[in-house]
Amino acid sequence: MLDSLQRLGQAGLDRFQRLGQSVLFLITVVARMMAIVRYPSLLIQELYSVGVLSLALISISGLTVGMVLALQMYTTLVNFGAEQMLGPVVALSLVRELGPVLTALLFSGRAGSALTAEIGLMKTTDQLSVMEMMAVDPIRRVVVPRFLAGIISMPLLATIFSAAGIMGSYLVGVGMLGVDDGAFWSLMRDKVSLSEDVLNGLYKSILFGVAAVWIAVYEGYQAVPTTEGVSRATTRTVVHSAFAVLGLDFVLTAIMFGDY
């Protein structure tokens, strides 16, 4: 009885310790962020591996999600004779919700896991301690460029996802299902507002980017330096990012769109 209570307490303390550590880690990273002006080429390299290489996945997912959404919504809307509303329905759901959330989930699977594995393996192969020995700060040199690249890429990728999705729904809705071309765009423009829908979606994606990339670099940096440790850290990155993004999404949606 007491033993199980002790185990529960231990697990709880462990969780809180990790949470505290990750916050301290975030503060360290943010405090050393300015170091990036000394190595801008590192940021570009990371933007390439985090952003450019995710581009194909993100744009193709966006396109297919938009196409499927158009097909699904059409079958429901046509029952009410409201198939012209296809444009606004697809645009609003992509811009407000699906763009930021799906991009964040795909991003943590595609780029977050890679970041964790990369930093974890650098630790396992003692590259990080060698850097410290050479008086190079691994946080400034390794973590900060990856952190910033993730935060910059995420909103761009989410915007590309939404734009690709709207193009996809245009192809299916107007090209295949025969929704009126003019009504599709003009109703969309009538219902979607820049400040309330597009920008709120963008803020969401920035916050998701911070959460996903923070979890990724923290797990990598704190990974147990063994093969198994790195594999566990990578799994944890994907799982924790998914929970963080979905939880954060509920809170942000309640704050941004809750009073409607």
């Binding site: 450019v52 761009l156 990728l157 939404s162 734009a163 507002s193 820049l194």
Partner: protein, 160 residues
């Protein structure tokens, strides 16, 4: 590993693509041309019942959107709803005896205020009030009236 020049060009293209997607969302998908505070004038109208009218609902004249609802409040002195309309400054020559009515777009669509032009040669200016108003048609109330009428008729026909 690719050469750094290729990487830099690809990153540049990525950034341009992201911005282009944002500009597309801003210009093609959303309505960037909403009226700002400066180029509107406000006109109030009092209604017995505003139905489902909301802030930001459109104000139309002859079907053309000329402004939007800025504020809705209730005047508990006169027991009326007070709606403040923000009309685009472009439309200076709206006769000040125009009638404001609340209509629904389609059967289940959103509600909006429609201004029917009057014959006066004086025009609405900032802070004016619409004299002639017509409340929203509340569907439930109409159905209720119809049912009462129908039951009255059946009663009277059975009396004869």
């Amino acid at each position: 590993m690719r050469t750094s020049r290729t990487v830099e060009i690809l990153v540049g293209m990525f950034l341009v693509l992201g911005m282009a997607a944002f500009i597309m969302l801003a210009l093609k998908v959303s309505n960037i041309t909403t009226f700002t505070e400066n180029d509107v004038f406000q006109v109030t109208a009092r209604f017995e019942n505003i139905g489902g009218l909301k802030v930001r609902s459109p104000v139309r004249m002859g079907g053309v959107r000329i402004g939007r609802i800025g504020e809705i409040s209730y005047d508990d002195q006169n027991l009326e709803a007070v709606v403040t309309m923000e009309i685009n400054q472009k439309y200076q020559k709206i006769p000040n005896d125009s009638e404001a009515s609340i209509y629904t777009a389609g059967l289940l669509g959103e509600q909006y205020i429609s201004l029917e032009p009057g014959g006066s040669s004086e025009f609405f200016i900032q802070g004016d009030e619409v004299e002639e108003t017509q409340s929203a048609l509340v569907l439930e109330r109409m159905v209720g009236r119809f049912l009462i009428n129908a039951s009255d008729q059946t009663n009277s026909s059975s009396d004869n």
